[in-house]
């Protein structure tokens, strides 16, 4: 048992990957789902174990094969990613419970074994992205998650063949992004001879004035990661991919995929390249900040004009990612804190929204558009009210966790006297109400008199767990704020722990 727990950082990644191989060959959907659930329950237990180790001993560095850096690959669990690790395992479990009926409805039963296999691959590789401490290892996990995501997205072709085009688009753009990232890794390796992040920080001190090669490498890495985390204007793959994927898949990706990559992105910015302060400030002020603002407005405005609800939510995700990168581009403690708070909160909000819309999708057996959901507030009251709560959280109503995010973002902007940005963010919140209201109006205020149909508890219970958690974290926000402040302190300190 001890050996099992000692290797917990590795097991959280390896276990899903291993079981993916087994699950692929299981013909029965129910058995495949069951094995997946068991794996993920063990995953949650391991994450809890990691949390308790972290609280007792501080940061954990796990070296594969006991090879020390710079020869070996290591995983690091520190203040920055412990919060996301817990959220990740909890959310993935809930999403998988939700996914069973959705998969049954949208995916061929004989493909379901493979679907769960890709699902586990995606989970394992995303967890690897969260934990890894080696820059090339990130590329490997990035590609595993991309390939499994693409396969999962293309499974949506059963409902709509556009999923294939979306998957192909994502494949090309994602591969370009990942390859740019590798070029950056190449430059970094050429200059320092190491791939381990902690070691990289130490080695980079010999180039404290900064060499062109290092800046070039950094730029490639950052751009590559921006492609994968859908920062404007490298976001074009996201809306088709999220809207044509099977509903459970959209849920998983919208909630967690881009967040995991953003955490690594932030690590590179603030830990590895923090010694090049001028370059960092240049990047943050002149590239990340303006792009975030544009992302917020473009995402929100395009969302207002969307009829297809999944596409609307995808564009809304782009806007929300804009809020996260905006918060991170504020170079001090408060900004980074706000960024982490919004990462956690948005994962829950978007997860909940896609789950609720997913249920409407399988009930409709057609694209969920503003026209087709008219009056569904009366037909599916339980799911619709959950959707309402998640939507209210998205626009940031007090007593929901979206409000807490907005509060911390505003605080960070205010302390740094970025008043124009405050005005723009306030304006965009008002714009977001427009597309949220369009959905609510169609759901609840239409004249079609539907009778309430019975809804499947296996689906609405996970949705309501998420919806209740939004209100819970809106009122008792201390746990999220604490995890975020641990993360931001750990990040700003320079990561040499």
């Amino acid at each position: 048992m001890n050996i099992f727990l000692d290797d917990a950082p590795a097991l959280v990644v390896v276990l899903p990957l291993l079981l993916a191989a087994i699950v692929a060959f299981i013909p029965s959907p129910r058995l495949a789902w069951f094995i997946t659930i068991v794996t993920l329950v063990i995953h949650v237990l391991l994450s809890i174990e990691l949390l308790s180790s972290f609280s007792s001993f501080g940061a954990i560095i796990y070296e594969f094969g006991n090879w020390p850096p710079p020869w070996g690959i290591s995983f690091k669990l520190d203040g920055v990613n412990i919060g996301l690790q817990i959220l990740f395992s909890a959310f993935v479990l809930i999403a998988t419970i939700y996914a069973r009926k959705i998969f049954l409805s949208e995916i061929d039963p004989e493909d379901s074994g493979k679907a769960y296999s890709f699902w586990l691959l995606a989970i394992g590789s995303l967890n690897g992205i969260i934990l890894t401490n080696d820059i090339f290892n990130l590329f490997v996990f990035l590609e595993i998650s991309a390939l499994s995501s693409i396969s999962l997205i293309s499974l949506g072709a059963g409902t709509n063949r556009k999923a294939l085009l979306a998957a192909f688009n994502y494949l090309i753009i994602g591969a370009i992004g990942a390859t740019f990232y590798v070029i950056g890794v190449g430059f970094a390796y050429a200059m320092t001879g190491t791939l381990n992040m902690n070691d990289l920080i130490i080695q980079l001190t010999q180039y404290s004035e900064g060499q062109l090669a290092i800046f070039a490498g950094m730029s490639f890495m950052l751009i590559g990661l921006m492609v994968k985390s859908a920062v404007f204007p490298l976001h074009l793959w996201l809306p088709p991919a999220y809207s044509y994927a099977p509903s459970a898949v959209s849920t998983l990706f919208a909630a967690l995929a881009t967040k995991a990559i953003l955490i690594f992105f932030v690590r590179i910015l603030y830990e590895v390249f923090s010694i090049y302060n001028d370059y960092l400030i240049l990047f943050l002020d002149y590239i990340l900040l303006p792009l975030s603002l544009v992302a917020i407005f473009v995402g929100t405005i395009i969302a207002i004009y969307q009829d297809d609800i999944k596409k609307l939510l995808a564009y809304s995700s782009i806007a929300q990612i804009g809020y996260i990168t905006l918060a991170f581009s504020i170079k001090d403690n408060t900004g980074v804190l706000a960024g982490f708070v919004h990462i956690f909160n948005h994962a829950l909000i978007k997860g909940g929204l896609f789950m609720a819309v997913g249920y409407l999708a399988i009930a409709l057996k057609d694209r969920v558009t503003l026209q087709s959901i008219e009056g569904y507030g009366q037909k599916f009251p339980i799911t619709s009210y959950a959707l309402l709560i998640c939507g209210l959280s998205l626009i940031g109503l007090p007593l929901t966790n979206g409000f807490i995010s907005k509060l911390y973002i505003f605080q960070a902007l205010y302390i740094n006297e970025m008043f124009l940005t405050i005005a723009l963010v306030a304006l965009s919140s008002a714009l977001a109400v427009i597309y949220f209201w369009k959905i609510v109006e169609k759901l609840f205020f239409s004249s079609k008199g539907y009778k309430a149909t019975s809804e499947d508890p296996a689906i609405y219970i996970p949705i309501w767990i998420i919806a209740i958690s939004l209100i819970y974290f809106g009122i008792f926000s201390s746990s999220i704020v604490e995890f975020s402040s641990i993360a931001s302190e750990s990040l700003i300190k320079g990561g040499i722990n």
Partner: protein, 120 residues
């Protein structure tokens, strides 16, 4: 600073990389896009491996005469990357096959026309 020709591997890398990107962006045929992607990825492999060569270095196997070895680590990394590239191309081709089955064509402009017809 020796003459520019010393950095021929950088130039090869840049030419291949840009060619690959150009093919991806301008091709209408999906299979050509995948080929472009493969060229783009190969350029990176070429670059990395060329970085591994140390002047006067020999193969990284212990022998008694020579003390300078070329760096094996980039080769290892590139092996991984090649595998990833192969998987990506394979997946891409599988998707193209499905696109062909569903749309009857693998040319981007024809598929766009189909999409427009479907929307109207």
């Amino acid at each position: 600073m020796t003459n520019l020709l010393f950095f021929w591997n950088h130039f090869a890398f840049i030419i291949l990389m840009v060619s690959g990107l150009f093919i991806i962006i301008t091709s209408q045929n999906y299979i050509k896009k995948i080929v472009g992607l493969a060229i783009f990825q190969t350029s990176v492999f070429v670059f990395f491996v060329s970085l591994a060569k140390i002047i006067d270095g020999t193969a990284p196997i212990l022998n008694s005469t020579n003390n300078v070895y070329s760096n094996p680590l980039p080769h290892v990394l590139i092996l991984t990357a090649i595998v990833v590239g192969v998987a990506t191309s394979a997946l891409g081709l599988a998707i193209v096959l499905q696109i062909y089955k569903n749309y009857g064509s693998i040319e981007e402009n024809e598929i766009k026309k189909e999409e427009l017809k479907e929307n109207n």
